[in-house]
Amino acid sequence: MTEPRIESDLMRISWGPQHPMSGQTRILLDTDGEKVHRIIADLGFTHRGIEKVLENRTILGGIIPVDRMAMVDTANISIGYVTAAEKALGIEVPERAHWIRSLVCEMSRINSHLYAFGLQAEATGYFPAVFIWTTVDREVLLDLFEELTGARWSFNHFLPGGVHKDFPEGFNEKIIEAVHYLRNRFKDYWTAMVENPMFEMRCDDVAILEPKDALRLGATGPTLRGSGISIDMRDEEPYAAYADLDWEIITEDACDVMARTKVRFHEIGQSLNMMEQIAKEIPEGEIKTRFSPFARAPEGEHISRVENGRGEMSTHIWTNGTTNPYRVKILPPSLRNMYVFERLAELSHITVADIPVVINSIDPWYLDADR
């Protein structure tokens, strides 16, 4: 990208793709001493051209690149594409498959929020230990995924018409054991991170995002709910089994970094409650509706909206009567949140030392911003 010209009394720091805290992106900071005047994001380091690749696959074969779009949070992206494909093909999904999909989505959401905590703790500079705790807790969830689906990260479990595999013997009890273990661990995380005076000093009143700015700039996910606005796709357009489960939307009013961290904490609590409900109340039945792998979808266009760990993700699919889709447009949450991050330097006072803390409170995953 051609970079904008720099003003004469500012210094430009290039925080590049090879850095322990930057992720797969390059961010330019125009600074004057400690204060950051301007942030410019240089995306595109993980651009794979998924929208063009999906035009060359059948509708069923498209679940493979889509699962690898954001490996930390696989299920919540996969369900967006699969729901849109089901609308295009006109297939009904049995009841038990909806409950299994909700379970896998909530486990993925916990995985993704744990990753955000680990990076947040490491960014505040004094807790690489908490990052290693999160890898241990993720192993509990990855063992459950492996028993259910056969793979740890990119499991391709959802297909149009249902899910691929059913629960093995004794799986419901294992889910409840894992929920109890994780609930105890989260008490430790709360004490270490949220009730810690050093963490409060670094995170309170930093990077305040007012509600009207959050709406105007297109923020989504915990970034939006940390400013007091309650919008969640699982409530606006209930998909899978969310209409039958008992949960609530979490919002906080303080609008700063600490509020967004607390939103993620409480969302994990809600996810654990939902996992327990599903393990106890899941109905019996079929798990998939069969259809031909080379099915032709009639002509039309369909949109599906789901809630990712980072916000709202929409998939718009156009079909024209052949086995491949005509065009797939994916609207990712991290691209919207990166625009908010660019404007935060003008909306509030940010110093150079605050930048890793702020960017991890917005929690972008560049693989789904670049597609």
């Binding site: 493979i64 690898r68 490996m71 990119s154």
Partner: protein
């Protein structure tokens, strides 16, 4: 290369130098293989698996592998995940900035041969840009497979290197 031949000539004139030579080789290979420091660079979606391998259950650091931030003090690049065109130029700059001896490990199916994105306009296989020593297949490879690949690299270092200069 010239240092090696000169040292060889002076050492060969001393009786019993063959034993000293192989002892230096042994210590050199042993110390280098147990402290491979890769650069802290993740290029694509296999990065969660890389983090789990450096985590607490499959601990990579007990083999001496520590991801490190400063490029001049590292001796390995682990290319973890999909490499797009923009990122491949950066991997080449980093490879040229490291000092000898240096190794490259391609982790995953994507840097080996483009993986599930084989017909994309923006994905490359990394051996068009830098020479690769070990390929670890999988999508993503299991942590046991990554550790096995690093142990293969350790065997290569122990057997095939003489006094620090890459033989090719």
């Amino acid at each position: 290369m010239e240092n090696e031949t000169e040292i060889k000539r002076t050492l060969d004139n001393i009786p019993g130098s063959g034993a000293a030579y192989s002892l230096i080789d042994f210590i050199d290979g042993w110390s280098r293989k147990y402290s491979i420091w890769p650069i802290h660079l993740v290029t694509g979606c296999c990065s969660p698996e890389f983090m789990q391998v450096s985590g607490a259950r499959f601990d990579m650091e007990r083999l001496g592998i520590l991801p490190f931030a400063s490029v001049r003090q590292c001796d390995c690049i682990m290319v973890v995940g999909v490499v797009s065109r923009k990122m491949a130029d950066r991997v080449k700059y980093l490879y040229e900035q490291m000092g000898e001896p240096k190794y490259v490990v391609a982790v995953g199916a994507c840097p080996t041969g483009k993986g599930p994105f084989y017909d994309s306009y923006s994905v490359v296989a990394i051996d068009e840009y830098v020479p690769v020593d070990v390929y670890i297949p999988g999508c993503p490879p299991r942590p046991e497979a990554i550790i096995h690949g690093m142990m293969e690299l350790q065997e290569m270092i122990r057997k095939g290197r003489r006094l620090g200069v890459r033989k090719d």
